[in-house]
Structures are given as C-alpha cells and as structure tokens.
C-alpha cells in the first residue's frame, strides 16, 4: 500500500483489533447464547434445581406429549398465514409507492415506516382497543349493518393474534417488496411495452417475477418475527389463542423449567433457520442481475 496521507499507518495498527471485534461480537452475542441454549436443552430439572447430566428427556417429552406438537404446528400455520396476508396487503402498497414520483414516494414510505418507531406494547394496546367489543372495528361493522351486535370474534382468540401480528409486521413486508420493485430497471418495462405486451402482461411476466426475491425476503422476515413473538399472543390471544411462544415463555417464567424451555427454543430455532434459509434461497435473483 502506498502511503496516502497520515491516516493509513494508524488504520493498519487498528485493523487487527477491528477484525477481532467483527468476529468476536457475533460469536459472543449470537453464537455463544445459542450454544448455551443447545447445551441446556440436554439437562433436566429436579425440584426446582437444574441437574447437569445429559439426557434426551426434554426432546422425548416435546415429541410425545400430546400438548406441544399440535401447538407447534398451529403456531407455524398461524405465522405462515400472517406472512401470506401481510404480503397480499403489502404488495399493492409497495407497488403503489413505486408508481409515485420523486419525493412523494419516499415521504409516503417514511409514513408507512413510522409505526416501527412506536413502542410495541403501545401498538398492541391500540390494536386491541380497535378489535375489542367496544372497539372501532365492531362499531364500524355494526354501523354499516354488517353485524347486528358487537362481536367477540376479533379479540382474545387466534383471529386476534392473526390480525394484530399482521398489522404490526406489515412494514417489514412493504420494505423488501418496495426495494425489489424499485430495483427493476424501468427500461425493462418499456422494452416489454415495445414488444407488444399489455400493461397486465408486463406486470405478470416482468414486474412480478423480478419482484419475487423481495416477496421471499418479506415472507421470511414476517414469519420469523411472528413466530418469535410471545407478547402479542399473551396480550390479545386470551385463553384460546395459545401459541408456541407463550409455552416457551411459561417454561422460563412460571414453570421455571429452563432445560425444557431450551429444548423448545431449539425446535423453534430450527424452524426459524429453515425460514431464513428459504428466504435467502429464493431471495436471490438466480445470479442473473444485469
């Protein structure tokens, strides 16, 4: 390296430290805790004391006890539904954003991202009050004559969790889809027009396939965030809205069975890792960027 100014020798002296930090931080704060969880999942609890002897009992219990697997599958289906609904709602919004010009596009995008700045708990409270028996949703439906009296269909059950998670996580779906749509060169759309395609054909054959990587990223974001959430089901799920996240929470809290909680976490982590890998796999553009 030629010496370009005085800053460079200092930078060279610091660079090993920076390299060490770059590896140490993820190892210390991500990989190590995960490894500890994995190790704990092979321990057991006896009368409130953790027994540090390796056993497969936690996993046997997870796979054989009639309680856990059904909740596990139901939670996965719930979160897949959240991801699907989020994408169905986010895609038109993101598409609409890309049709706007200049500063309007980003102003509106910022507006859609504002909910991310608000406290999670406050948002859940707000949504709960909208969904509740005297909430805006019921009042609107009764006012429109769709319902004759307020319904309890929207709160303290699985529906409530579905609706709330969708509302909370939709910004995470809009952003990747918007970025994927925005990255499509306009000239490709003009080329499609030029070759005789109608605007619907251009959308279905060019825009949609080229935006699918963004859709895949959005789906994996929303799914991963939804499946890890225990606060939302806790607050709007009531008794019937029992999800895997709540079971996990209870193992670490009420039940004070950390090894079993750790085993459940490992099961959840496997699902999350699979979702991230799938998102990554389809989030890439067949290596065919221009």
């Amino acid at each position: 390296m030629s010496s370009s100014g005085l800053a460079r020798p200092a930078a060279i002296r610091w660079s090993p430290l920076v390299t060490v930090l770059a590896f140490a931080l993820p190892v210390m704060f991500v990989l190590a805790p995960l490894a500890i969880f994995l190790v704990y999942s092979f321990f057991s609890v006896d009368q409130g004391q953790i027994v540090y002897a390796p056993t497969l009992a936690n996993y046997v219990r997870f796979f054989t006890d009639p309680v856990f697997l059904p909740v596990f599958w139901r939670t996965i289906v719930l979160c897949l539904s959240v991801a699907a609904i989020s994408i169905l709602l986010a895609y038109p919004a993101a598409y609409f954003l890309t049709t706007l010009r200049g500063r309007w596009r980003y102003a509106l995008l910022m507006l859609l991202m504002v909910p991310l700045l608000m406290s999670y708990v406050i948002k859940i409270y707000a949504i709960r009050s909208i969904l509740g028996l005297n909430g805006f949703l019921n009042k609107a439906l009764v006012g429109l004559g769709i319902l004759s009296e307020p319904s309890t269909l929207f709160v303290f059950n699985m529906n409530a969790i579905l609706l709330t998670l969708t509302l909370l996580l939709i910004p995470f779906a809009i952003l990747p889809i918007f970025l994927a749509l925005e990255r499509i060169p306009q000239v490709l759309l003009r080329a499609s027009d030029d070759l005789g395609a109608s605007s619907l054909q251009t959308f279905l054959r060019i825009t949609l396939p080229l935006s699918l990587p963004g859709v895949a990223s959005a789906a994996s974001f929303v799914f991963v965030l939804a499946i890890g959430d225990f606060l939302t089901p806790q607050m709007v799920g009531g008794i019937s809205g029992f999800t895997f996240g709540r079971i996990l929470y209870s193992q670490f809290g009420t039940a004070y069975n950390w090894p079993f909680g750790a085993a459940l976490s490992v099961a959840l982590a496997v699902v999350v890792i699979v979702a991230i890998l799938l998102g990554e796999r389809f989030g890439r553009n067949r290596g065919a960027s221009l």
């Binding site: 490709l188 003009r190 080329a191 027009d193 005789g196 395609a197 080229l210 553009n285 067949r286 065919a288």
Partner: protein, 366 residues
C-alpha cells in the same frame, strides 16, 4: 429495392420537457427499407426523435404518419416498431430463447411456431447454441445480438436502434457495424439508427440525418454530407475538414469565388442554387477536405495557399500535416496524403505552397 416510397413521415414534430424545448418542428421522411442514421452530438434531440417514433413519449406538437396514417396517439404496444435499447434491456429472468420469443408469446402465437421462429431468429444472429443461457451469462456483443433478434422476430415495419454499440469496445463495435448492416440487407427491414459517432454513421447508413440543438441540419447520403455540407455545423462536425472564412464574391458558371484572408478561393456551387443566389459580400466559408489539399505545382493558378508546417503526424496509412496559414496561428489547415515508406519530405517550420482544385472545394454560408 424500392426506396422511393415513404414508410414514416414526421411533420413539424416538436417536443418540450416542461418549458425546455428539445425538438423544434422537425420534418423527416423515412423510406421503406433504408438504413437511416440520425447523427448528432449529445443534447441534439436525436434520441428524442427515436423515443417519439417508438411511442415511449408523447409529442408536444406535430404528427407522425405511418403509410400516411397519423399514429401520434397510438400506444407503444400497438406500434409495429421494435427498439434495440442502448443497454439492451434484456429480461434477466428469461433465457435467450425466452427473451427472443417474448414479443410472439405476448401475442399468443402458438408455442410450436414460437419455437420455430426463435430458432430461426437465433440462427440469423448466429446465437443458435445459446438459446438456453441467461443474459448474465453472455458477453456484451452476444447480448446485443439477442436484443436485435428479439426486435426482429416481431417482423416490425421499423427497427429503432438507440446507440446500441456505445457500450462495446472498438474492435467489437466494428464487427457489430458490419453485422448490423448485413442483417439489415438480409431482412430488408427499415432501420433507424441513432448515434453520436460519425464514423459509425458513414460506415452503415444509406442516409444520414444530422441533428443539432433540436433541428435537422442536413439529410443526405454519407457522400453528400461529406462533400456537400450545407452549413458550418455539418462541415465541421462531419469528418475532418478545412474551413476558411470570407465573403462571397462573383459567380462564374458552376463556380463561385470567396474573398478570404488567405486570398481569393474558387469553389464549386454545382447543384446548389441557394449558394448561387446568395448576395455578394455574404459571410461564408470555403471548405475543402484534407485529402483534397496538396502541395502546389507550377501549373496551379487558382486556390493557391501558403503557410508554415506546424506538425507532421504519421497516422499509419496516411500522414496528416498541420499548416498555419496566412501568419494567423488560429487558421490551421490540414493536409492528408498516403504515407510512403521513405517518409514525408516536409519538416516542421518549412514554408509550403498548397492548392486544391476548385471542384473539390465547397461553400457554406455562415
């Protein structure tokens, strides 16, 4: 080949972006089957002409007629034209065959026929083996040929080419020029080719339309433009040239004199009535090509110039001598002659007498 009928006509076509005008009432007729090049520096409006014809943008005023019918309001996907875009604009998620067949597939042509015509088109551009590749796996020249095949497969009345060679390196560009020209002869489709490179224009076009500042300055064959430029801009822009300013003098038959700081020069005005009719004393230029200029012999009575050799540059097949004439450092003349193995006898600083034949000189009005 019938080149007399007009395929497409632009009538007083104007275009403004907001309040900024980029085209000022352009009139242009494109003949059926010709290779027409629109040539101009950047900002001349040449790409705008192409975009208006292609339907990528609406006109501000005027009309575009195809076979005599106004198509100014026809949407882009209904126009029987196809464009080869500057950076090819291939669809990255489709294979070469998918790209080339796209125009047929959106028109619901049966699958078998698409396959047949795609194979044909790829054969035409010599890419038969690449049908299954993706654009990212192709070189620049190959992408270029895919884009051409994709445009030709729809059998358009007119192919619009927007500086398609600009991204290629010199050697490849030369090859592609020949290739484009031969394809055009083979398919006999009208090509409208936009470029800022005058060498490219000379090499490929049947006719060239020179544009500057939103106006068409001259339209004609490469030969006409080279030897009979109609204005100072074309005379300077199109090929290397010598210009000497002066005021017009008397007309004698097919020749007219111009009084310049370097003396009286006589140039041809054959077939150019506006030059014969121009008022005596009108400002103008004598123009003559570097290869028309030669060392004066004893017999040369007319168009004698003298100057000092400023530079002798060997350029391979030819040698270019730069001469400062009339003691004015700004008045430079260039003299080009075939190189010889023993080298040029001229040396810098030497005073030389030069001349050009009146029929090789030409006048343009200032």
């Amino acid at each position: 080949m019938n080149q007399t009928s007009d395929l497409l006509t632009l009538r007083s076509v104007s275009k403004s972006y907001g309040t900024v005008p980029v085209l000022h009432g352009v009139d242009l007729s494109i003949r059926d089957g010709e290779f027409l090049t629109v040539l101009g520096p950047s900002g001349s409006g040449k790409t705008t002409v192409l975009r208006l014809i292609g339907g990528l943008e609406p006109l501000t005023a005027g009309e575009i007629r195809l076979d005599g019918q106004d198509i100014s309001g026809m949407p882009i996907n209904r126009r029987p034209f196809n464009t080869v875009f500057q950076d090819y604009a291939l669809f990255p998620h489709l294979t070469v065959a998918g790209n080339v067949g796209y125009g047929l597939s959106v028109r619901h042509v049966p699958r078998k026929e698409i396959a047949r015509r795609v194979a044909q088109a790829l054969e035409l551009v010599q890419l038969g083996r690449f049908a299954g590749r993706f654009p990212a796996q192709l070189s620049g020249g190959q992408r270029q040929r895919v884009a051409l095949a994709r445009a030709l497969i729809c059998q358009p009345r007119l192919v619009l080419l927007d500086e398609p060679l600009a991204a290629l390196d010199l050697e490849l560009r030369r090859q592609m020029q020949e290739f484009l020209k031969s394809i055009q002869r083979e398919v006999k489709t009208t090509f409208l080719f936009v470029t800022h490179d005058q060498e490219e224009a000379i090499g490929m076009a049947d006719r060239i339309c020179v544009m500057q500042a939103g106006h068409i300055r001259q339209l004609g064959s490469p030969h006409e433009l080279y030897y009979r430029p109609n204005c100072e801009f074309v005379a300077r822009f199109f090929g290397e040239n010598n210009l000497v300013a002066g005021s017009l003098g008397e007309t004698r038959g097919e020749f007219r004199a111009i009084e310049t700081a370097l003396g009286r020069l006589v140039c041809s005005v054959a077939g150019q009535p506006h030059l014969k009719a121009a008022a005596t004393g009108a400002r103008g230029f004598a123009t003559f090509r570097p290869e028309a200029l030669r060392l004066a012999g004893d017999g040369d009575a007319e168009n004698r110039l003298s100057g000092a050799v400023a530079d002798v540059a060997f350029a391979g097949s030819s040698t270019v001598v730069t001469i400062t004439a009339g003691g004015d450092a700004a008045q430079r003349l260039r003299l080009r002659f075939p190189s010889r193995v023993e080298g040029s006898a001229l040396r810098a600083g030497e005073t030389v007498a030069l001349s050009f034949a009146p029929h090789e000189g030409h006048l343009v009005l200032a």
